[in-house]
Homo-oligomer: 322 residues x 2
């Protein structure tokens, strides 16, 4: 048989979903994105995902045989494979693998998005050769994928990695999870928006952001304003960097990783956020770690680390079944 | 050869050191303790440790051949085997294995105390059969031993587990590590003493503890007073439980362990501390974990979990060399 083979990886985010088709070396043959519409029904999402998978696959159909689908999504329970009521989604608990399997007769696997991203970085990205590192996804929400002794940490219930729901500020902001002060309420895209409003109320900086309503405000607007020197936006990033830098220093004291790899929409802010984050991080590290632990920005495009990691699940499935 | 064999395990704490002699099934043949005197020189400690090892071994010498020494100490770097300037010791960085090896021609190994305790609990204690759990040592300082996927977490630099130096209260109490607000400044024996003084200054409870100077005050006095219904002492334990319960809930969000096993001098307070800790813990857990994660008190005596775990290092050394 002369035809090549291909696999799809899908990264389902709170705002956008990215679909990639990969060859057996992990090269991207095609990539396409669409709005997740997490407020809509899961069935609508499945229909849209099928459209995108099928129309993209059609472009490859003469050259490549389609062999499997790997899915990356928030709050995936490693043990059950269910997506368990992610905070930023109105889907409840769903079995996305079963919903898709009604339409595709090829292996389909699912994994938590940040874990998939950690796998992707370990096999193809900045974490190649690392045995202890943590991926931080700064998007609509905030997740982490933890690798210890060269293995993903899934935990006793298959739900490890919710660093976004550890406390950054005691009795702080209300979180959608029902608790208060969670890291996610400060350093996710929504956290940046909340901080912008807070600093508008407590500081007197002039800012173009004062023209924009909370509902219209996006993390990208804040990042763009900061890039143009807007003092309010810069103060938002500085506050965010302080919260994030301290929390990452705590992770070092606890787990002693060699690096953090940061990705996701908010990470696109780049050094505007990461440079002050590194400063606060170094200042809060235990002495023995100072200068030893890197905060790296993933050099892959949107969702590609998670797409690669998720696709790895079905690469493996094929290896086992052949 | 009809003689039995034995191994020594040594648990070096900030206040007391416990020495145990074990047979090959992990049974305690003898146990003896002495004050560590962490303000004295390391050489003085080595001399005292040799006295205790030799006098105890003399009692066993006709029945048991002495085959190895396993040491458990704070801040042991897993990679180098050095004790690296523990916060509550004036020893600086020392190579205790080399200091002892000048006097004993048998295998000597060393490991961080909380990791040794985790090994001991996994092989002989409450964690038998567990793959994901965290040991918390509440003593002069506060440490943790983390087990993930059935393996100890050492980290990239061999220093993982310093949960005592993650932040409990932002910009909180000064810590001996040079930072502020570390968990250890609230929930160690010293933390209890500091909280007692703080509550004496802010509350108006009558208390027998008001007769005692800070330097004379011990965690045991606070615990005993609480046991007698002293309102100030009970408030100290309640505050401590709140800080500890919240932090353990954060560990669950991050690592998803099946249980915590608590030990050390402060844990001897028993349910006076652990019952309210469990309440605050449950209240702060993410919904999906409520009722699923146990906080257990080790059922071994002082230092025995760490003694057993450290001795395991030389059991293994013998197995490999024979």
């Amino acid at each position: 048989m002369n035809r090549n083979v291909c696999w799809a990886g899908v990264d389902i985010g709170g705002t956008n979903t990215e679909v990639g088709f990969l060859d057996s070396s992990g090269n991207f043959l095609l990539q396409a994105g669409f709005p997740t519409n997490a407020e809509g029904s899961p069935q609508k999402f499945v229909d849209k995902l099928r459209d995108v998978l099928d129309s993209n696959q059609a472009q490859l159909t003469h050259s490549h045989e389609f062999r499997g689908i790997g899915l990356a999504a928030p709050n995936v329970n490693y043990v059950s494979g269910l997506i368990e009521s992610p905070v930023n989604f109105d889907w409840g608990t769903i079995n996305l693998v079963d919903l898709l399997a009604q339409h595709y007769d090829i292996p389909i696997r699912i994994m938590k998005d940040a874990n998939a991203a950690a796998l992707g970085e370990m096999k193809y990205g900045l974490a190649q050769g690392m045995k202890n590192f943590v991926v931080i996804t700064l998007g609509t929400g905030l997740g982490s994928g933890i690798v210890v002794n060269g293995e993903l940490v899934h935990g006793a219930n298959g739900l490890a990695g919710e660093i976004g729901h550890t406390v950054a500020i005691n009795n702080g902001r209300r979180c959608a999870c029902g608790r208060q002060g969670c890291l996610e309420t400060y350093t996710s895209a929504n956290g940046l928006r909340r901080t912008t409003l807070e600093l508008m109320s407590t500081k007197s900086y002039n800012s173009e952001l004062r023209e924009i309503s909370f509902n219209d405000l996006t993390a990208k607007m804040i990042s763009d304003a900061a890039g143009e020197g807007d003092q309010l936006a810069l103060a938002v990033l500085d506050f965010t960097a302080q919260i994030l830098g301290r929390k990452l220093a705590d992770v070092v004291a606890f787990l002693d990783p060699e690096a953090f790899i940061v990705m996701g929409g908010v990470a696109r802010t780049g050094d505007l956020l990461l440079a002050p984050t590194r400063e606060y991080f170094e200042a809060h590290l235990l002495t023995m770690y100072k200068g030893k632990v890197s905060i790296l920005r993933s050099n892959m495009k949107d969702g590609q680390a998670a797409i690669l990691g998720a696709a790895t699940l079905v690469f493996d499935a094929n290896e086992k079944h052949e």
